[in-house]
Amino acid sequence: MILLVNGCSFSYGDELPDVNKRYSTYLGKYLNLDVKNIAWPGSSNERIWRTTKAALYEITDISKVFVMWSDLARVENVHLEANMATYHVSPNYVKETNNPLYDENGKFILNDPFFQFSPARLDTMPWKVLKSEYEDYYSKIYNTETGISKTFFYMYDILMTCKILNIDYYQAFFHEGNRYAIDKTFNQFNMNVKGSRLQRVKDYYNKYLQLFKGNQRIGFDGSSFTFNEFVTENKLDRMPHGHPGPKAHKAYAKYLFDNFMR
């Protein structure tokens, strides 16, 4: 039987010297399950939802699913005009880090046509016009209410799919930033200012939230840790760009198993 794991760079094991030493591998050993890890660095929650759904229907012997949701504001798009093959890093960086996400010439390797994007990466975008339009998107079109509504629908859809397919479902936040964003969106000041308009989103969010049990709220409410918090609180190792290190992955797998998945 299989443990399906999905998420962003934290679940992929980005920066680890050996990607097989990520938390999902240890979790599989604890649970005595084969592991299928379909996480990808930079993932939007849309990609996580889309690929989890596809895997749930394509792979017949999944018994448990663990999804570590990413940043609410990330999006995915397809840009044929801005050829992603031109998006590359220095070949020296590839040699130094042995990063499997880039080929030997430093070209970014995509595994499907979708391009994952986040506000944090605006400054790295090499195409001027597209960068400007993304700045407009994040400053004028996107808002956290949309990010919350979308991500909680994705969670609900996977929860219901697992229920129909009789699969155990677990979920967590990768970073406490999501929790802060939700708390801030629905704080008393915003509720007073936006009134019934915001109340409708809060009701929508609460309707989904109340369906999730404890092991489907890992890192959601401060009573449990996000992966990032767990690393900080326990003073565990980090890689040069901030991702959890090998010891952190191993300890986090034990934390998940002991507290939520045993």
Binding site: R50, K53, A54, Y57, E76, N77, V78, H79, L80, E81, N83, M84, A85, L110, D112, P113, F114, V129, L130, S132, E133, Y134, D136, Y137, S139, K140, I141, Y142, N143, E145, T146, S149, F153, Y156, D157, M160, T161, K163, I164, L165, K194, R197, R200, V201, D203, Y204
Partner: protein, 250 residues
């Protein structure tokens, strides 16, 4: 009971003088199909719906209900939804506004309108929009199969066919284009193995709009650009006959 979802074409916009809720509900094709079959109908369509909304509300409904059959008429793939209460005169669902490339002119805020025009011009691509709709269609297909519910999926206009045709005709041989064609072909092969899904591949033009034109049925007198009552009567009979002929309902 039969479940329908879609956009204004399923809601019945154009079938009544002032598009009243009661009038649209009375004359729209889902009601007509239900009357012909002697079945109760749940119609969760909303005018201007994006396919995101159609997918979202269908999943929510099917998670808690098991209708005898599900009929989805997908809308334009380029439509999207964002939380913007008061963006237009009327808001739907949790203040989540449905935005179409055609209704950007109705957006009150100048800067937001500019940003959305830029979004449609530079950020959102036909490729992304078409793939999203194929993903939503497959999601509903799998959900219905898992619950053993017969499903008919079609398009309001043959827009998805056009987007897919254009994308598959791309002559570029970049790695990204190949990945895109591979992804589209995955979904075409997926739906080829299933019945009762229309408008997802090159040359498959079946839609409410093409059926209306092929049968020389007029557009609405009240709301130009939407099918009139005769077209809705035709579509209602089409669904009724289809469900019966394919033994999709008892």
């Amino acid at each position: 009971m039969i479940y329908f979802n879609g956009c204004s074409y399923t809601y019945g916009i154009g079938t009544d003088t002032h598009d009243t809720v009661e009038g649209c509900l009375k004359y729209c094709y889902p009601t007509i199909a239900g009357n012909l079959l002697g079945k109760e109908v749940v119609n969760q369509s909303e005018p201007a719906s994006s396919n995101q909304r159609i997918h979202r509300s269908t999943v929510r409904y099917l998670a808690e209900n098991t209708p005898e059959a599900v009929c989805i008429m997908w809308s334009d793939a380029l439509r999207m939804e964002v939380f913007k209460p008061g963006l237009f005169k009327r808001g739907f669902d949790s203040g989540i506004s449905q935005i179409t490339p055609q209704n950007t002119n109705s957006i009150k805020d100048f800067y937001l309108r500019e940003a959305i025009e830029g979004y449609y011009g530079f950020v959102l691509s036909q490729a992304k929009a078409a793939l999203d709709t194929l993903v939503y269609m497959a999601s509903i297909q799998e959900l219905c199969e898992a619950k053993g519910i017969p499903l008919v999926q079609m398009q309001y206009k043959p827009n998805l066919e056009r987007y897919i045709r254009h994308l598959l005709d791309t002559k570029s041989d970049t790695r990204e284009d190949k990945l895109l064609v591979e992804q589209i072909n995955f979904y075409i092969n997926y739906f080829d193995k299933r019945d009762h899904t229309y408008g997802y591949k090159k040359g498959d033009m079946l839609s409410f709009e093409t059926l209306r034109k092929d049968n020389h049925l007029p557009n609405s007198l009240y709301s130009l650009g939407h099918p009139g009552r005769e077209a809705h009567e035709f579509m209602g009979k089409w669904f009724s006959d289809y469900l019966k002929e394919h033994d999709l309902i008892s």
